[in-house]
């Protein structure tokens, strides 16, 4: 080791600490950490390891996945101070399994493109600065915040971080907290609220005998996919339930449907009324649960009319109605492809009307129980927040805006001019793990620790029956000493503002401990503070008491608008969310880039899905590049041709086409959200993501499609064979 200051003894000491020290950090009921930073000399050798840190043996610690808003409980396997693998926490409410996004979230934690230190804009470029300088800059520039001219723009937040954020906004006199999620169920929630008086009731897939879903991809990206996957498994066993999926492009859920129905985008409500019409006229379903005005509207939607508008054949409507009638209780859901239109609210209302007509409310749609700790509940996002923020930023309402967990510069359509509007804010602070588009347009970047390096609590937005506060604990020592958790940054800001009541806390961990100490005795179940904390961290969550709710039923207006032909832009653009890239946040994870899309099996790039008839008309074959053009711009990608997309639809997956966001994401694929036309759902104000009309043309370029597998069919071999549900019920039914 000539030329180096480290001698052998120091080196060994360091190695020992690297392993044991980090493992100690992640522990629950363990002695205080000894680290080199604290300058303590005590070295724990591997020869006498502590009980929980045996070299070569993995130990699991509970934490919470933050890769999507569902917030599933996880177990992280830690060995020699490194977290190696995540698995679902079998005890958690969302538990046991984990989706591919959760599995891949480790690559976010270990991502080579993570931001490792604060950065500030100097002469137009972001340059590394110290935390000291960063705080100084905040002091200088963010002083306007105190006059209420500040805002937070975040993704879903919950738990005690949410409490601190609210306290900070209070101190600043600003109530503006925009919570944005590109993938949300806001339109459905608005309808639920209006009809049932409960925005997020319990959808009991496990109790349903038939599920009719209008574009709700509950196995993929809708609300809480792992939770619904577990219920789906129950739904499919015993007296196996029937799944009918109506949507313009086959989603993961559509891939498992017994009957997959392609409806012209935006006409889902018409299809629902057509089904109601058949139920009332052919299946002797009693209409007394619906108001007369709704029955009058339904009577106008004869099969012929519905077929003309939606393209769904009359016999298909009859088949769906038969399933729903015979297999009671059923459950009707609606999701993004039905919601993302100017008439999205009406579509969702028509779907909910079917639930009322079929008597599902109270059977498969149950009142939710709400957690008593209201302030900890998830602030779940929608896209209206982004539109509102764009308008406010444009009007010069803010001196300083804080961004965290959302990337509006990437997800906003071109017509919103998001980058320009954000540029009008004099001082933009991004709290971020990655150099995404929004972060790179900020004036000050504060590096966040990963969800597996920090203390936090979170509450899943969808907890209809039982409620829990999910714990996040550091599974290992932070990879970079300069990163800080959201909780710690918020606490520092509160202290800096001189807000009362926070001075006593050294760090966010201390704050959390004290908050949990203060929980009511009923939650602690007789445990003392330390035992309660240990139990929470070991189990990974705290069961919270709930208040039970009730459902009312009042069906709103189910009238549907007319269908508009597209003119110069005859096709419908379907920007699809999927479990690989999600809203674009996963584009920096190589496992998910290389994971073939669940339906098309395409990897590492974007594609355009069209129907064989459309392809024939256009004269393109698989792999040809086509140009998809709206009145806002154009994108080009290779075509994938199959019969899982409506003849009039062009489906392009969301999530690729980043201009920033690290080596795996940047310059890879196209972003269909960019070319959306300006349209919102008229009732809820949500961005109408599926309302854009496009035309499609050949470019002449062609290349082999990056797709897994050679043959699309089994060529007669019994690789996957199929039996009828009757056979299944005879042999395995109850």
């Amino acid at each position: 080791m000539s030329g180096s200051d480290i001698n052998r003894r120091d080196f060994l000491k360091f190695m020992g600490l690297g392993g044991v020290g980090a493992a100690t950090l992640s522990g629950c009921d363990m002695p205080t950490t000894v680290t080199l930073e604290e300058g303590k000399e005590k070295v724990v050798a591997y020869l006498a390891p502590e009980e929980y840190a045996i070299p070569g043996i993995g130990v699991t610690f509970a934490s919470t996945c933050q890769q999507c808003p569902s917030g599933c409980g996880v177990h992280g396997r830690v060995r020699e101070g490194r977290v190696l693998k995540l698995e679902g926490n079998p005890d958690a409410l969302n538990g046991k399994g984990l989706c591919q996004m959760g599995q891949a979230s480790l690559q976010g934690h270990y991502n080579p493109d993570r931001i490792t230190q604060p950065m500030a804009r100097k002469n137009g470029a972001l340059v590394p600065v110290s935390w000291e300088d960063a705080w100084k800059l905040m002091q200088e520039k963010a002083s306007g915040a105190t006059q209420g001219r500040s805002a937070w723009f975040t993704g879903t937040v919950s738990g005690h971080q949410s409490v601190l954020l609210a306290a900070l906004n209070d101190a600043w006199g600003s109530k503006d907290h925009y919570v944005y999620e590109a993938i949300n169920n806001a339109v459905g929630e608005a309808v639920n609220k209006s009809v049932l008086g409960d925005a997020a009731p319990a959808y009991r897939l496990d109790k349903a005998k038939a599920v009719l879903s209008f574009g709700a991809d509950f196995l993929g990206t809708w609300v809480s996919p792992v939770h619904f996957s577990r219920e789906y498994a129950k739904f499919r066993t015993g007296d196996r339930g029937v799944l009918i999926q109506v949507e313009p492009k086959m989603t993961l859920t559509g891939g498992s449907a017994d009957l997959w129905v392609a409806a012209r985008p935006g006409t889902e409500g018409v299809v629902a009324l057509g089904i109601a019409n058949v139920l009332l006229s052919k299946n002797q379903v009693d209409g007394k649960k619906l108001p007369q005005v709704a029955l009058d509207v339904i009577s106008q939607y004869s099969a012929d009319k519905v077929t003309e508008v939606s393209g769904v054949p009359g016999d298909t409507l009859v088949r769906i109605a038969k399933y729903l009638k015979e297999r009671s209780p059923s459950l009707v859901l609606s999701g993004e492809s039905a919601h993302g239109h100017a008439n999205g609210y009406q579509n969702a209302m028509a779907a909910m009307m079917l639930n009322v007509l079929l008597g599902n409310v109270g059977e498969t749609i149950e009142a939710s129980n709400s957690m008593v700790f209201g302030e900890l509940k998830a602030k779940h996002g929608n896209s209206k927040a982004m539109l509102d923020f764009a308008a406010a930023a444009d009007a010069g309402k803010y001196d300083v805006v804080f961004f965290m967990g959302a990337n509006p510069v990437y997800t906003a359509p071109v017509h919103l001019g998001m980058a320009e509007k954000i540029a009008k804010v004099p001082f933009k602070v991004a709290l971020s793990m990655f150099p995404d588009e929004t972060t790179m347009s900020a004036d000050l970047v504060l590096p966040l620790s990963s969800p597996y390096e920090e203390w936090a609590t979170s509450v899943s937005p969808y907890q209809p029956k039982e409620a829990a506060i999910s714990m996040s604990q550091p599974l290992m020592k932070p990879l970079s000493a300069e990163t800080k958790s959201l909780g710690d940054i918020l606490l520092s800001m509160l202290k800096y503002q001189g807000v009362k009541g926070y001075d006593g806390f050294d760090d966010y961990y201390a704050y959390l401990r004290s908050e949990l100490n203060a929980m009511p005795g009923s939650v602690k179940a007789g445990k003392d503070n330390d035992a309660f904390w240990s139990a929470a961290v070991q189990k990974g969550f705290i069961k919270a008491p709930t208040k039970s709710g009730t459902l009312k039923v009042s069906v709103g207006d189910v009238k549907q608008g007319g269908y508009q032909a597209g003119g110069d832009y005859p096709m419908h653009l379907v920007p699809t969310s999927n479990q690989t890239m999600y809203d674009g946040r996963n584009a920096n994870l190589p496992w998910l880039q290389e994971a073939p899309d669940q339906i098309t099996k395409i990897f590492w790039d974007s594609w355009v899905e069209i129907h064989p008839k459309t392809a024939a008309k256009l004269g393109v074959k698989e792999g040809d590049f086509v140009r998809v053009e709206s009145d806002q711009g154009a994108i080009e990608a290779q075509v994938y041709i199959y019969k899982g997309v409506h003849v009039d639809a062009v489906a392009v997956p969301m999530g690729r086409g980043h201009e920033e966001y690290g080596r795996y994401a940047k310059g890879n694929g196209v972003n269909p959200l960019k070319i959306l036309s300006p349209a919102v759902d008229e009732k809820s104000g949500e961005l109408a993501t599926h309302a854009t009309r496009v035309r499609i043309s050949k470019t002449g370029r062609s290349e082999e499609l990056p797709r897994l597998g050679g043959s699309e069919v089994q060529v007669g071999r019994r690789l996957v064979s199929t039996v009828s549900a009757d056979v299944f019920r005879r042999t395995e039914g109850v």
């Binding site: 693998k85 989706c99 996957s229 993961l252 009957l259 290389e594 669940q598 339906i599 199929t722």
Partner: protein
């Protein structure tokens, strides 16, 4: 194996797998995968990447078929011969098939290896000895399921730039250029399970070993276990479906039972049983 042993036990070693083979198996690790529950979500495949140090190879190499997805989620569209029809739309959704090494008891890959890098273990596993492998790729040629993956390049530098390399599982190696690899049924987990059982002075019991794919499956479609353990869930499933090892055609009392093994007519004797996909009509 001494010459004496071979001469004395000649008839034992000549016994085909249909008669139980010449192995005295300690375990027979196997699976049951219910395609009625499988949604094709691909979580199993990514879990396998995380557990088994699988490199990502990038778009061009993936396109050439050089991806190292030990567990790949195949998707097929219905065709007229398989009960589909010529309708305008794909009315019955897709057919999803999670495919990993089938750990055949009469594995076609094993006898063709010139250096015995792939062989059958007393656990019933089709094992691959990386440092014995010379990369002839005969095994891959001979696998009817196309489930063996070759390292055409060294991927470790490109695939795990720092600090991504810190995620690598130290329980198994990172493979280098020129070596064949494939699903091991998470042999490192099997070994841990057996070691733990031995330390605790007991037999390995059902649930001690769960593969990464089975653990993560959100619908619990994958069940893993020891087919020699009559109390194991997987054994019960095989029994209920009347699927037996050592056969090229299952003789079932009820022809409607859903269990089958992929391409079992080839006499590969796979240890993975699938249960038919189910559709309403």
């Amino acid at each position: 194996m001494s010459l004496k042993n071979i001469l004395e036990n000649w008839s034992h070693y000549r016994r085909g797998h249909e008669e139980g083979g010449h192995h005295d198996y300690e375990h027979m690790w196997g699976m049951a995968i219910d395609l009625n529950k499988c949604t094709g979500c691909n979580a199993c495949s990514v879990a396998c990447y995380a557990e088994n140090n699988l490199p990502t190879v990038g778009k061009d190499r993936m396109r050439k078929g050089q991806g190292l997805h030990w567990l790949r989620m195949e998707r097929y569209w219905d065709e007229p011969e398989m009960g589909g029809d010529e309708k305008e739309y794909q009315e019955r959704g897709g057919s999803f098939l999670p495919m990993m090494c089938q750990h055949c008891n009469a594995a076609t890959c094993e006898p063709v290896c010139p250096v015995a890098a792939t062989y059958h273990t007393p656990d019933g596993l089709n094992a691959q000895v990386y440092n014995r492998c010379i990369g002839s790729r005969y095994c891959s040629n001979n696998c009817p399921y196309r489930l063996r993956y070759f390292n055409f390049y060294s991927y470790y530098e490109e695939s795990w730039p720092e600090p991504l390399n810190m995620q690598l599982n130290p329980d198994l190696s990172v493979r280098d250029k020129g070596v064949m690899e494939k699903c091991t049924f998470c042999i490192q987990r099997i070994r841990t399970g057996k070691d733990t059982a031995q330390r605790e002075g007991r037999e390995v019991k059902d649930g001690d070993v769960v593969t990464a794919c089975a653990q993560t499956c959100p619908t619990e479609a994958i069940v893993f276990g020891d087919l020699l353990d009559k109390d194991a869930q997987v054994t019960k499933l095989w029994k209920a479906q009347e699927v037996e090892l050592g056969k090229t055609k299952q003789d079932k009392s009820n022809g409607e039972l859903r269990g089958y093994r992929v391409l079992e007519g080839l006499n590969t004797d796979p240890c993975v049983m699938y249960l038919d996909r189910v559709r309403e009509a």
